[in-house]
Amino acid sequence: MYPVINLDKKNILIFGASKGIGQACAKVCDRLDAQVILSARDIRGLNNTKSMLNRNAHIYDYDLTNTEGIESLISQIVTECGKLDGIIYCSGVTDNRPLAMQKPEFVNNLFKVNFMSYMETVRCFAKKANHNECSSVVGIASVASELGTKAHEAYAASKGAMIAASKSMASELHTKGIRVNCVSPGTTRTEMIEEYLSNCENTGSDVGNRLLERQYLGMIEPEYIGYAVAFLLSDASKFVTGFNLPVDGGLLSV
């Protein structure tokens, strides 16, 4: 049982691995001796992440706006890398704009990456040929699902959808030995957030500052999201499923 968190010999597929939280997750899993498989749109970013790892990682550039192609992507990955033990779904679009500008096409595009491709990924992962017994899925959601923030309608809803679907998938997939959980990060030091905060500043919005006020432990370092994800991927958390773990510096509790 020691070390408590052990990912040795586990095949972990990470979406959104080219930067930010996905990259941090890849580094943590690699340090825990997992065999990581990296996917994202940006091949240069993927190679960059790959260069930070100790082990040789497989990389697959893929655009998750193409939900229909995920089934053959997963099949290809399993053929080339072996059955999977875990998925980390970090891909996500944050595009916040006034409700007046959130037309159906915009909402649809955002939901494709943040939600539909997540569900499709888990659906394909759950096929018998694609996963090992005792496997685990972690969706990176967001505290946004619990916060009524203006201009966040589509984003917050997509994360709420991810959490809700994860609970249902957890109860359905446990018979296959698959656990499904989410991690909801608060404001985490990534390019995406730096951009968002500077946008807030430029537009005179105080949303970013207000979030950090409630997040009383301050800006989260991405590796700590990786640690929580690694715990949920490991067998040490084998009794945890259908759970959404806030790693939010206290934000949602106050």
Partner: protein, 255 residues
């Protein structure tokens, strides 16, 4: 491989250390390098738990936590013996079920006297200057009962809900000192509480069948809960604060 969860040289109090989750986490903490301060009422049981620990600067304190007035001196004594504290795991608790018509004020009081008041008093005493190290992490063992109502659990669930509410406020307040607090909420776990439950309802009872429909991963092994406790006590959960961590085999997600 790196060892992400490591307590080398950390001083950690465990209450309810003579049995169940408290006993098992004490053993695990010692294997991961901690000096464990074991608190429970029964001295003989504490001694035998201490024998199970890996070597370290451990300490046993036979103490009835209902005695609130003595907690401050006890904490002072602990700190002067093992040094400043890095954490506490509060597993002391009684889980007796009482239908509402039998829930006298005395029974209600007793539940709070074990499950709630000493938890607050311990944190009050530990968070005094000179008694803790910055980065100290505290975990209170709550229960799914704090969220999900059930017949007979009026008193018990109230104590756990009170604990969780207090944790959110205390964690916010004490964060300025570098102390962070979370709740760990297990579902039915294979401890004396489960034995009592089986005794009450019989084996394979309808009650248990209903329970397992929701707690679909089965009855928890103690170690499964302990692992979540170790995670929450460790530095890698540094940004997790005021959270209720459900280790419940799916229970709270299917309601």
């Amino acid at each position: 491989m790196i060892n992400l969860i490591d307590f080398t040289g950390k001083n950690i109090i465990v209450t309810g250390a003579s049995s169940g989750i408290g006993k098992s986490i004490s053993v695990s903490l010692s294997k991961l390098g901690a000096n464990v301060v074991l608190i429970a009422r029964r001295e003989e049981e504490l001694k035998s738990v201490k024998n199970l620990l890996e070597d370290g600067n451990h300490m046993i304190i036979p103490y009835d936590l209902k005695n609130l007035d003595g907690i401050k001196d006890m904490v002072d004594d602990v700190v002067s013996t093992v040094g400043k504290l890095d954490g506490m795991f509060y597993a002391a608790g009684i889980g007796n079920a009482h239908p509402v018509k039998l829930l006298s004020n005395d029974i209600l009081k007793e539940l709070f006297e074990v499950n709630y008041y000493p938890f607050i008093e311990l944190i009050r005493c530990i968070s005094r200057k000179g008694k803790y190290n910055s980065g100290a992490r505290i975990v209170g063992v709550s229960s799914i009962a704090a969220k999900c109502g059930d017949a007979g659990l009026t008193g018990y669930s109230s104590t756990k809900a009170a604990m969780e509410a207090a944790i959110r406020s205390m964690s916010r307040e004490l964060s300025s000192k570098g102390i962070v607090i979370n709740s760990l909420a297990p579902a039915m776990t294979n401890t004396i509480m489960y034995t009592d439950y089986v005794e009450r309802y019989g084996e394979n009872s309808n009650s248990e069948k209903r329970l397992l429909e929701r707690q679909y991963l089965g009855i928890a092994d103690v170690q499964d809960i302990v692992n979540c406790g170790l995670f929450l006590l460790s530095d890698i959960s540094k940004y997790i604060a005021g959270v209720t961590f459900y280790a419940d085999g799916g229970y709270t997600s299917v309601q």
